[in-house]
């Protein structure tokens, strides 16, 4: 067994008297979709915030490719190759998919001086179009604003963007919430393609049937701890629900 790509070990986080995480564990391998599930208040979003640098853990370690690392700011997370797609904070609705794709990392033309440099729109359009096509994202026209796209398309643009700029792990927070059946299917297929590129994907979701269908491993959080992990094909909706709600730890927990 090789080193996991990303491993969180013994992560604890308290907010005043509330214990959000109590020694939580999470491991993700390259090229795999790891579903992170748990009931409301189980600590999923706190763990995601810690891994994406928005919050700092009180204790515990994070290892990236076997090396212990600190992730104290979102920028640091990005520099380490970890990108997060939060539910609704990902895109600027008035900009085009291309502009969003390159936002903050615009491709500049060369040789026009330092202060007043032009962005290379053609190159960015080409690259974005290629990237969208490679990932199987179809847009009516890449020239319209993101705000006029469907929910699934928006989510796809956000995921494509994260996949482009992260070279290790992408974290998706409820990417299929509020999507229709067809769109959900498209987004999940996109997630699979992203994982096939060799990225580790952490998929936070409520939807058990997605998890059973698509995840390579499922890790269940309850009351701030990991109470169960399932490999591919080992989980069923019933077993997941049982793990999320029952009082006893399930014996399949990985060591």
């Amino acid at each position: 067994m090789t080193e996991p790509l990303l491993a969180a070990r013994g992560i604890s986080k308290r907010y005043g008297h509330v214990t959000a995480l109590d020694g939580a564990e999470l491991t993700v391998n390259a090229g795999e979709i790891c579903a992170l599930i748990g009931d409301n208040g189980a600590g999923k979003s706190t763990l995601v915030k810690i891994l994406s640098g928005v919050e700092r853990p009180d204790s515990g370690t994070i290892e990236l490719e076997g090396e212990p690392v600190t992730i104290s700011t979102p920028t640091e997370a990005q520099d380490r190759g970890i990108a997060t797609v939060f539910q609704d904070l990902a895109l600027a609705p008035d900009l085009t998919p291309t502009e969003n794709f390159f936002l903050g990392r615009e491709v500049m033309q060369k040789g026009l001086g330092r202060v007043f440099r032009f962005t290379d729109k053609k190159k960015m359009q080409k690259e974005a179009a290629k990237e969208f096509a490679d990932l199987g994202i179809t847009l009516r026209s890449a020239g319209v604003s993101v705000g006029s796209l469907s929910g699934g398309q928006k989510q796809s643009v956000a995921i494509a963007r994260a996949a482009k700029w992260a070279d290790k792990v992408i974290i998706l927070d409820e990417p299929t919430a509020a999507l229709g059946v067809v769109q959900t299917d498209r987004v999940l297929r996109l997630v699979r393609r992203v994982a096939d590129r060799g990225l580790g994907v952490i998929l936070v979701t409520h939807n058990m049937s997605h998890v059973v269908d698509i995840a390579d491993s499922v890790q269940v959080l309850r009351l701030g701890r990991r109470v169960a992990t399932f490999g591919k094909g080992e989980s069923s909706v019933e077993s997941l629900v049982a793990a999320m709600t029952s009082d006893t730890n399930i014996s399949k927990e990985a060591s």
Binding site: P74, L103, M108, F118, K126, A129, T138, A142, G143
Partner: protein, 351 residues
Amino acid sequence: MRLTDESPKAVVPEAAEQSLSERWRERLGGGWILLLLVVLLAVFTILRPAQFATPFNLSTLATDAAILLVVAIGQAFVIMTAGIDLSVGSVLVFSSVTSALTMLALSGESTATYGQTDASWGVIAIGLVVAVVSGLAWGLINGLLVSRTRIPALIVTLGTMGMALGAAQVITNGQDVRGIPALLVTWVGSGQLAGIPVLILVAVVVAVVAAVALNKTRFGTWTLATGSNEEAARRSGVKVRAQLLKVYALSGALAGLAGMMAIARFSTTTIGGHTQDNLATISAVVLGGTSLFGGVGTILGTVIGVFIPVILLNGFIILGIPPFWQTIAMGAVLVVAVYIDQMKRKKKTLS
């Protein structure tokens, strides 16, 4: 690349897909405002061809619009970030006062409160720098407060609006400075270059540079991104605070430049004459299709938005309609403009 799924459908490349008219419509914020401008020009031309459509009248009209346009362009960038700058008129006044007093002092006639001075071009250049730097300073104050504190831009700039005008009045004791360099008034204020008034040329240069900056540079993209979704922009790596600071500084600096243009044109500072500039520029920007909610805007639209009230006033005067009607017409047009903006927003969020 390992793709196991069916081959993906190609993405339509954007430049080719958008027709020319579509792109223009986008640039003009829906196009209806351009239509309004054309209709106004046509109506006044048909009704009074001998008076309205003359080169002299049109050039007077454009000169009237030039100073306001320079201020409105700064305002446009601010509004694109979903902010607002109420201080522009006061900053214009403050800058014109500091500039006029500097030029007066350097011309060696510091006692001359009336009449023009014989200050050299060198002195005028220093005056220009003083005007722009004065405006820039107020812009930086606005930008720092807006980006670093949680005070809304409306309140920050309402505060600096009072402070800048008050400071100008304190410095001058409320008396306009009339000792303006004759060269400035003759060659810039009422001068022409190749038959085009210099003030118009200045405004055109500012507008062209602004349009290029908005459409072709990272500064432009980041301005719109900040206004569209500040948090998303921040998470994408846009330096939102620095961007806001730059945008408000730009607005201040342009108000300073406009202050210099104003003393050139009127041969005096105009301390009491700019209390409406903020609202005039805001309505011009909004008329031009820039959204008050940020994220969307064009410079060409802003130019048209500046011209509409000027043309209305000019046309009404020529037609013998009491000019007070212009204010009423402008108010109505502004409400309609914001209504259209809201409808567009609603359509967007519903889809």
